[in-house]
Symmetry: C2
Subunit: 406 residues, 2 copies
Amino acid sequence: MSISFRIHKDAGKARTGQITTPHGEIETPIFMPVGTVASVKGVPQDILEDVGAQIILGNTYHLYLRPGVDTVRKFGGLHGFMSWRRAILTDSGGFQVFSLNELRKVTEEGVTFRSHLDGSSHFFSPENSMAAQIGIGADIIMAFDECTEYPADRERMRASMEMTARWAARSKKYFEEHKSEVPWSGPRTSDAGPQQKQVPRAARNDKSTDDKTSGEATQSLFGIVQGGMDRELRKESAERTVEIDFPGYAIGGLSVGEPRELTREIVESTLEHLPKDKPRYLMGVGTPEEIVEYASLGVDMMDCVLPTRAARHGLLFTSEGKVSIKQAQYAQDPGPLDPNCGCRVCQRYSRAYLRHLYASNELLAQVLNTIHNLSFYLDTMRRVRHSISLGEESRFLSGVWSRPKP
Amino acid sequence: MSISFRIHKDAGKARTGQITTPHGEIETPIFMPVGTVASVKGVPQDILEDVGAQIILGNTYHLYLRPGVDTVRKFGGLHGFMSWRRAILTDSGGFQVFSLNELRKVTEEGVTFRSHLDGSSHFFSPENSMAAQIGIGADIIMAFDECTEYPADRERMRASMEMTARWAARSKKYFEEHKSEVPWSGPRTSDAGPQQKQVPRAARNDKSTDDKTSGEATQSLFGIVQGGMDRELRKESAERTVEIDFPGYAIGGLSVGEPRELTREIVESTLEHLPKDKPRYLMGVGTPEEIVEYASLGVDMMDCVLPTRAARHGLLFTSEGKVSIKQAQYAQDPGPLDPNCGCRVCQRYSRAYLRHLYASNELLAQVLNTIHNLSFYLDTMRRVRHSISLGEESRFLSGVWSRPKP
């Protein structure tokens, strides 16, 4: 088996469902915390589990540079290396090459880029992005794509989209030929180290959990729709990607500087061309309002650095709106950060204490702020799923914000 | 009641005991993690509880500057402000004024110093150190002393020791007149904020736990022995401090640059002049080897920034010796940091992962390293107590290192 996807309930365009992966199940719509370099910054893995993260995202670009694919592979993949027992998704590296490298050189073959760490030269192609992602061993991996810059003219958007389509085919070809090489597919070595004991064996031998399960456990490769900000090109990209046939589809190339309204329009129109029976993943999105809205449009998976990065800068998301905890107005505020939040931060600490930690540049500020923001995002998606399961097609969009935790 | 101290078992000079404070009991000998500015850097309070911290130390100098005594008082003291339910000890501010202020001016009245944060001018005297420590509301507070610089000639050591003695008397006088002003002594206000609910009421109404308990819960003021590196002056300082009469005694002014052998000699000789029936606190010490050694000499309480500060710099203490986790030799090491350690870090993560986090400058490196080092220190003291309780006077010094956790 790789993954299976089952829809529980539809409500308008929105739906709840479940993705079964070799490392556990994911309730959709899902928000995936970003753990760039094998760590969701500042949060120990047991706390991540405790706040309810069912799947986290790793960045292939960063992991490839540090600690390197060979090291990760030796530990049975990223699950073993970072001791994360639940599901993982990795991106292809294409977006980081796009966003972190001004000196990248793109050809049909792939992308030459320089490491942001030491300036050394590297090359990513569909084939070696797949090789890296297979070595890293996430449950869901992504086709190597080109993220089209914004703004771009139609000719450029088309050329980029078409190359992404060709790269998708190459990605799939390489993946199909090499997917058995995932480090957790074969038998484990007995000397793989003590932390290996805690990584559950892949579910390859457990055929009873799902009728669709069969054969060896493998990763699943998702395709990515590009096409810039052009609805027609997006449609064509979706159709060409679906034709290649993947177990899930992502919408990439958004949140790259375009107006929010345009993002929404492209997402909504692109979704119409993606199969309903496959997971649909919107990459790099978004604010709490946005993840709710996109879930209502039928997106099943999202990821974003916003909750974690904003937390480290003292920007906190609450049911009462955004809180910039550095402000002096909180210096003596005895209330919890969010009175409607059940997370371990809101249950124990005051706004005044969180403000003090931030103002004093204490490490714990970043830790606690991140735990809260992730809790808020994951709780938000939990409420979205609950609303959809009640059939609340449109009402949950407004209601999900003010409703106290069930 | 303030505190009560009961000795369970003697083994040579060493002893195990229990200090009952208004915020819980402390098993001695105890190591106290340092939470300088209302946070043990990088460690959430629930994890501190989990690793077994029974008492933590706050720094009056830092708390006085930020968030300020008035703010801490409004939250029912430091317990309420930082939501720490167990015991707290504060130092007097004297040592920080000594170590962080090259421009301090010392007179009989007190010390004028400049904030290391903004250069603003401040004044600490025995009276306003007591006022600050009463407002902060730790269970155990310290007399305001002068930490004699090293090296110093005998005349200077004597003059400094004598001023510390006069300051001790002034500290006690002010404390006795104002100790009822501790924020958790009176009835709580109902609008003190949600986090107040989690701070247990002081044990003042619970007379059943200890026969010695009586009256309102108050703080306890400890005296500090100074006298530089001169055994005679230390003896005199001890006698004069004991004459003033405190419920516990500290040895200050050590670990200020003198050779280790000299520290040990002064500690050992000073201890002879301190009453056996009162807690004896050695300030600012030490390495794992040292805390074991000083416990064997009869010290009951110790604190040091070493485990937390070293952790942030990648220096980890283990039953097999020190580990500098940044070293490349650990990059592929699948073993736990310390095979004899039961802490959540050693149980879950490999050396390779910890090395990767440190090399990648990830926040989580500092968090996990600190959790381990504190666990190691607290476990070490747990083993010391166990050894003493078995009557192992001298053997535990060597045995405590190689013995796996019980």
